[in-house]
Symmetry: C2
Subunit: 125 residues, 2 copies
DNA sequence: GTGCATTAGATGCATGCGCACATAGTTTCC
DNA sequence: GGAAACTATGTGCGCATGCATCTAATGCAC
């Protein structure tokens, strides 16, 4: 039963805060807007991009998802009509993901929820 | 394309740090010791407990896992011979989880890896 | 004691994830 | 210009997770 060094305590606190916040976010976004955390993060990043459009790869750099998880998250959003995919004509391997009108609405509707949850959880640390 | 308020930026940084650390931990613990992060966390908490023994419920309060995920993590560890389960005689609904000798060895072997990874990742933030 | 609410833990199920691999398009080098 | 290496993305698969639910044991009321 030795003393835990500072780095382990810091890690435990980091993990605690992350879990508190991500669980609260997941729950609230799901209940009030029918969005998972990953899905919201994708449309939130798109909403912050020029013309609400990004390449898959650029999205992948911003979002904490593996390439395959991102591919499926975008597929779910596309099925739901929140984004659409378009081939990139310059590099035909590439895919542009664009927020639809509906996607933009949903993102704007969900954003206050995200901020409220984060403010409440992260402030109480 | 509005400015992100501080709380969102704080959240993104928190998530980034958590992901960096948890991915590195997961990878190193798996490669060098055949342990998942959840599994290591369970045996690490047990190693820090009196007589290396805790009730499932106490374990659940310390570990960031749902009750069902914990139940399965302990089941995996039991199959691997790192912990054993024992009925609690006072309250026969309860289950004591105890670290075995082998479990203790594995935890002690993996602890330096955990600390090294955390030191490296958390320091570089 | 008998019945009912509560608690501890396990399990069926659906889902999202990462890994490895497949596919298609592009660049490089000769 | 053709083969080989590289890049961007999608997909099969196995696994861990959370939710809801199940079972067993305890406690409480009467």
């Amino acid at each position: 039963m030795s003393e835990q060094p500072g780095v382990v305590l810091a890690w435990r606190e980091l993990a605690q805060r992350y879990h508190d916040a991500s669980c609260a976010l997941e729950r609230e976004l799901q209940e009030r807007h029918g969005l998972g955390m990953s899905e919201f993060e994708v449309i939130d990043r798109l909403a912050g991009a020029a013309e609400c459009q990004l390449r898959m790869q650029e999205l992948g750099e911003q979002v904490h998802l593996s390439q395959s998880a991102l591919s499926r998250a975008v597929a779910r959003l596309e099925r739901g009509g929140l984004v659409c995919r378009a081939l990139c004509e310059q590099d035909r391997r590439g895919v542009f993901v664009t927020l639809t009108e509906e996607g933009r609405r949903r993102q704007e509707a969900a954003r206050p929820t995200q901020r409220a949850v984060l403010t409440q959880i992260l402030a109480s640390g």
